[in-house]
Amino acid sequence: MVQAWQSSLSAAIFAAVGADAAISSTVAQRLSEAISMGLIADGEQLPPESELAGQLAISTVSLRGALAILRQAGLLETRRGRHGGSFIRASHAYTSTRSTERLAELSPSRLRDLGYELTAVTGMVASLAARRFDDDNIARLTDLAAQLGSAELPAQRLRLDSRFRIELAVASQSERLTRRMVALQAEYSELLWLPAVGLDPVACASRHRELVKAIEAGDADLARSAAEAHVTDDTRQIVELRLEMDA
């Protein structure tokens, strides 16, 4: 049975969408990123247009524009009839072509700036997590890191790595930082896991495990510095690729 859209989750993803002439493409972009991260599942049915537009606080005209973009990208399928409606097609979610195009559109300076913001948020949530974690957080983080270490496909790596970082924010018990982390992962993770960046999932998983150890030891300073260093190193690798594009 197909599940309906989860309104609270959509609010978490789309809270930062403003009133903008390019609102359709912004919404389409956020939706496709959320699909890449696995926050919206394959086969999930969208609610009726009027309801969804209301949840996202945008006009139905803007929403239709966004849905058209997704349909064209193969991320949305519209079926007619009694069991009709709009359904997410997540199997088409991650194409390195589209993410490479997005990387090319970002200037190196904007890319670094995105990295700084993610570093600030990640460092803070890691430090809070070391003071606030519970056993469920540790189990989930450990499990995600292990899955990442053995993930074969770029799409899986992207999904597991971004879920790890979101779970880290959840462990910080800050609602605001969790929302911010979801939004940042939507922007960042598809760039990070471009095959051309050459990130090693095993090495990444091992740094995640080191971080979990620091959190479990209650060492807030070590957790913060490990988390910050990891994001800084990752961002340098993306910037490296971005600079090569103009060579």
């Binding site: 609270s8 696995g38 999930e44 979101i166 800050s174």
Partner: protein, 239 residues
């Protein structure tokens, strides 16, 4: 001058008020499903759970710091769904249904069966869990008051209510501030629920060495109210 025991009793009374409603949810779910269970059916039709809404509406109207509540089903027991909940949250107009967890892609799902409060329920225990950010659930910092639903020998799931930390913390602080000394209220996993000073934030792990505990709601919440051990603290270190 109030003492720690009186304040602990006062906190317990606040939890009791919530648990009265959680108990009502439990009997609603139990009676709705007992006929289906006695008929030998493993699967419970969802339409038997419609009365949950009214019970949650009552609770939300009665207790201002409750954000919602409902029933989280044991796996594979309702409507052919792997995971299912009948959960209602306070909305702009009355209460709104929280869409059930999604079941397809593994990253998107809300795997409640691995969570402590659900496993406590499976083990037949009531629990008060949190504070925690209920990501992909209500997406809020909450404390969950949970209780198992068991009919005959069968575990059917967990009923519960979310205490919204935003609103609940200050209710606790008002009660704790009656005491002149610094006190910290912690949950069953040793994390802070509230304190009468800003040095201890909800959710933080609390190092209790040098503090003395007074038990709060030993049967369900297993909370503790900590006051500094006067024998070990110099008068200057006390507020």
């Amino acid at each position: 001058m109030a003492d720690a025991r009186q304040v602990a009793d006062d906190v317990e009374a606040v939890l009791d008020q919530v648990y009265q409603h959680v108990d009502a949810l439990k009997s609603t779910v139990s009676s709705a499903v007992s006929s289906a269970v006695s008929a030998g059916g493993r699967q419970l039709p969802r339409d038997r759970l419609t009365e949950v809404e009214a019970v949650v509406a009552d609770m939300v109207a009665d207790v201002p710091w409750v954000g919602g509540g409902g029933f989280v089903a044991a796996l594979d027991t309702v409507d052919q769904e792997h995971r299912f909940w009948e959960w209602w949250t306070r909305g702009n107009a009355g209460i709104e249904r929280l869409h059930p967890p999604r079941s397809s892609s593994d990253g998107a799902e809300y795997a409640y069966e691995v969570m402590q409060w659900f496993r406590d329920g499976q083990a037949g225990r009531a629990s008060v869990f949190g504070p925690f950010v209920d990501f992909a659930g209500v997406n809020q910092l909450v404390i969950l008051c949970a209780e198992p639903v068991v009919v005959g020998e069968q575990f059917l799931g967990v009923v519960g209510a979310d205490l919204v930390v935003d609103l609940f913390e200050i209710q606790m602080v008002r009660r704790l501030r009656i005491l002149a000394e610094q006190v910290v209220l912690t949950g069953s996993t040793g994390r802070v629920v509230a304190s009468n000073t800003a040095s201890y934030a909800p959710g933080e792990r609390f190092a209790s060495a040098g503090w003395i505990a007074t038990g709060v709601d030993a049967d369900r919440a297993r909370w503790s109210l900590w006051a500094q051990d006067r024998d070990q603290v110099s008068p200057l270190a006390r507020r």
